[in-house]
């Protein structure tokens, strides 16, 4: 589904990703871990097409197509979803209005009929159960006045509505209390199936107790420093990240997960 080959990227001329190789297949859950500044969030933003980041080298194939050629909204309509670390507020625009517009854009893209507000309301009510959100959230402005936990749940609600093929969750666990973490993780688990894939970008092992990845990749200095199964995350939890920084880089070309 996703093939990242020798990806170099940065912001304002500073190279942050220095040759990432990663392959993600349908049905898989990958965790990207690493210390602050290692490039985890940059990877998420480059995949979703954030305009501030420039790709300087390498390629990203998504379902065989060159992903880097697509505008962010085209990527989204093709099934890539990013849950933001800091979800943005859109004052005056109701959650329901925003979600219906996004949902209908995707349907149009797939050549399907758009849903009217009433039809969409039913769908939204159904999907909101995934993250235990009640109807009052739908009439409130997008993320405005939401608590940290509510914002993150709202991200997963959007994922539930848009049903992406590839979901990239950027530090979705940050700032969540244990109850909110349980709800958010539960939502992701309900949405994950054999036909989609999830990339979890996280600093902590905690999230991985709830969403269990098959593959863990540890980033350091813009490269994948270590890869393994879910047990690698536990090892990091005990040892911290410092030992990785000292360790030799083992990220040669083609050292992807598969």
């Amino acid at each position: 589904m996703l093939e990242i080959k020798n990806l170099h990227a940065g912001i304002d001329g500073n190279e942050i990703l220095k040759g990432i190789n990663l392959t993600v297949n349908k049905g898989e859950i990958h965790a990207i871990m690493g210390p602050n500044g290692s490039g985890k969030s940059t990877l998420a933003k480059v995949l979703s097409g954030h305009p501030a980041y420039q790709v300087t080298k390498g390629e990203v194939l998504y379902e065989g197509k060159n992903l880097l050629e697509l505008a962010p909204d085209e990527r989204a309509r093709e099934g890539i979803f990013m849950a933001f670390q800091y979800p943005i507020e859109v004052p005056g625009v109701s959650n329901a209005q925003f979600l219906r517009l996004a949902y209908n854009e995707k349907r149009k893209h797939l050549g399907e009929e758009e849903l009217d507000p009433l039809e969409f309301k039913d769908l939204l009510k159904e999907r909101a159960k995934v993250v235990e959100m009640d109807a009052s959230f739908m009439t409130r402005s997008v993320n405005e006045g939401f608590s940290g936990g509510e914002k993150k749940r709202n991200e997963i609600l959007q994922m539930a509505v848009l049903e992406p093929k590839l979901a990239v969750l950027d530090e979705t666990d940050s700032g969540l209390d244990i109850d909110a973490l349980r709800i958010v993780a539960g939502g992701v688990n309900q949405l994950h199936n054999a036909n989609n894939a999830v990339i979890l970008v996280t600093h902590y092992q905690r999230l991985l107790d709830y969403i269990v990845p098959q593959f863990v990749h540890v980033l350091a200095n813009g490269r994948i420093a270590k890869e393994g199964g879910k047990e690698l995350a536990l090892e990091l939890e005990q040892k911290g990240y410092d030992w990785l920084k000292a360790a030799p880089e083992n990220n040669g070309a083609g050292a992807g997960a598969n």
Binding site: S48, G49, H50, P51, A52, A71, P72, D73, R75, A76, R77, F81, M82, F84, P87, I88, V90, P91, G92, V93, Q97, F98, L101, A102, E105, K106, H109, S141, Q158, L162
Partner: protein
């Protein structure tokens, strides 16, 4: 044709010119011009006197060029045509006699006038250059005692009402442009809602400037008697010309005891091109008087067009417990300039006013809010709430807020809130990441920003206004 070309054409779809034979008077302004207009319109002597008084006063006045935050080259008032009317039969018995070319023009503008196609539940007075060409649903309204007709007819058929109220809110010597209008206004709309009547439908006037050389000077007068209610809509468009055209209108509203007037405008005059060539100078005086107790006047305006907008729809809150409201969205793009806002003059006890202003500036435009809240000594317990928000798109535009607050009564309260924001790259990216195109994302953010104002508009107008803002901003981001 490239997408960019398509978009730029889409931008102002009302820019066409109607080829129609017109009765046009020579350029220039003098007492003779005024006599000529009066003769063309067959007006009585008291109207001639009204006009001449205004004209003589106008000669002593100077154009307000210094205090507004706008700039434009000298206007040669002798180079303007003050009367241009499509040729027609002397009196029209019915809509069937309206020139089909005019009917086609208004239909193209989305304002069908013929009986079969008339907008449901909206009565329309269609003004083309200097004259009203048709008014729909006149008879139906008459059954309820509501008078809705062109100003020309009103002078002829209801002289007592016109004599009583014309100039009662905006005196002939009020300001430079109001004086000019009082001297040369050629037509407009008159609405009269008798005591206790809720007007059964929305009333609206659609203004169209067609002649490239003529100014449009129309007059609107709405009188709501005791306990009556009316909602009035106003729309405006003009063809694309590379010369500037002058539009100096006067609108007067009078609300007696317990009466309510809601006045909504969607202004989409031609704004000039990207470099600021052409476009309408929209210099308009709008004022309402809450003359009676418990009366209410509410202005809602969506200003998107015109090269320059200079207007301050205001309320004189004379009656005790009367309410004035001003809800405004002013959008400027490219080289447009707007200096707009309101005046709330609190005279009566427990009078209340609300001002919600949303200014959006894009391109290299300049957008100013200017508002006065004045609480007079006898206005015990008066209250005002003002909220002025500006949004900037890009970094070459400007937004300014000029609030004036004069309070002469200690028991009153005046609140003012203001904010300035920018559409951020992060906000756009967030929406795009959900599959929404950049253009739609800008529209969505802007419409959210303007929500408090759009909520005040009648349904169809709100939809039109949202669509319009989206079109106006096309290509202004990214």
């Amino acid at each position: 044709m490239s997408t960019a070309e398509l978009l730029s054409q889409q931008e102002y779809k009302y820019g066409f010119v109607t080829d129609i034979e017109s009765d046009v008077i020579p350029r220039g302004l003098s007492e003779d011009t005024i006599r000529l207009i009066v003769a063309k319109k067959n007006e009585p002597d008291w109207m001639l006197e009204f006009r001449l008084k205004a004209y003589r006063h106008w000669l002593t006045m100077t154009e307000p060029k210094h205090w507004p935050n706008i700039s434009y080259p000298e206007i040669n008032y002798q180079d303007v045509i003050y009367y241009s009317a499509p040729k027609r039969k002397a009196a029209l018995a019915s809509l069937d006699e309206v020139d089909p070319e005019l009917l086609r023009t208004f239909e193209k503008l989305g304002i069908p006038l013929t009986e079969q196609k008339q907008l449901a539940n909206v009565a329309v007075d269609a003004v083309f250059d200097s004259v009203s060409v048709a008014t729909t649903y006149k008879e139906k309204l008459k059954k309820h005692g509501v008078i809705f007709c062109s100003f020309t007819e009103a002078i002829r058929d209801y002289p007592d009402l016109i004599k009583k109220y014309l100039g009662s809110v905006v005196p002939t010597n009020d300001n430079f442009f109001a004086a000019l209008n009082s001297a040369v206004f050629s037509d407009g709309s008159f609405c009269f809602i008798p005591k206790g009547v809720r007007c059964p439908m929305e009333l609206s006037t659609y203004f169209r400037i067609n002649n490239s050389e003529s100014g449009q000077f129309e007059r609107t007068l709405i009188v709501a008697e005791e306990g009556s209610h009316v909602s009035y809509l106003e729309g405006c468009t003009a063809p694309k010309f590379d010369k500037n055209q002058l539009h100096a209108a006067v609108v007067e509203l009078v609300a007696l005891d317990d009466a309510q007037i809601k006045y909504s405008t969607v202004q989409n005059w031609y704004a000039g091109d990207e470099e600021g060539v052409g476009g309408i100078y929209n210099f308009v005086t709008k004022r309402g008087k809450c003359a009676g107790h418990n009366s209410k006047i509410s202005w809602t305006q969506v200003e998107t067009g015109s090269a320059i907008t200079w207007k301050y729809p205001s309320c004189i809150l004379q009656g005790d417990n009367s309410i004035g409201e001003f809800y405004s969205v002013a959008l400027t793009n490219h080289a447009q300039q707007a200096d707009t806002g309101t005046k709330m003059i609190h005279l009566g006890k427990n009078t209340r006013s609300t001002i919600i202003s949303k200014g959006i500036a894009a391109g290299k435009s300049n957008n100013s809010y200017r508002g006065l809240v004045k609480v007079m000594p006898k206005a015990e317990g008066a209250r005002n709430y003002t909220q002025c928000d500006s949004m900037l798109i890009g970094s070459n535009c400007g937004a300014n807020t000029f609030p004036y607050i004069e309070v002469m009564n200690n028991s009153s309260s005046v609140e003012h809130e203001a904010s300035t924001s920018k559409i951020s790259e992060e906000q756009l990216f967030y929406l795009q990441q959900r599959g929404i195109s950049q253009e739609d994302a800008v529209s969505l953010i802007i419409n959210g920003f303007c929500k408090d104002v759009f909520l005040q508009l009648p349904m169809e107008f709100a939809v039109e206004a949202q669509r319009l803002l989206g079109l106006k901003l096309e290509g202004s981001v990214g």
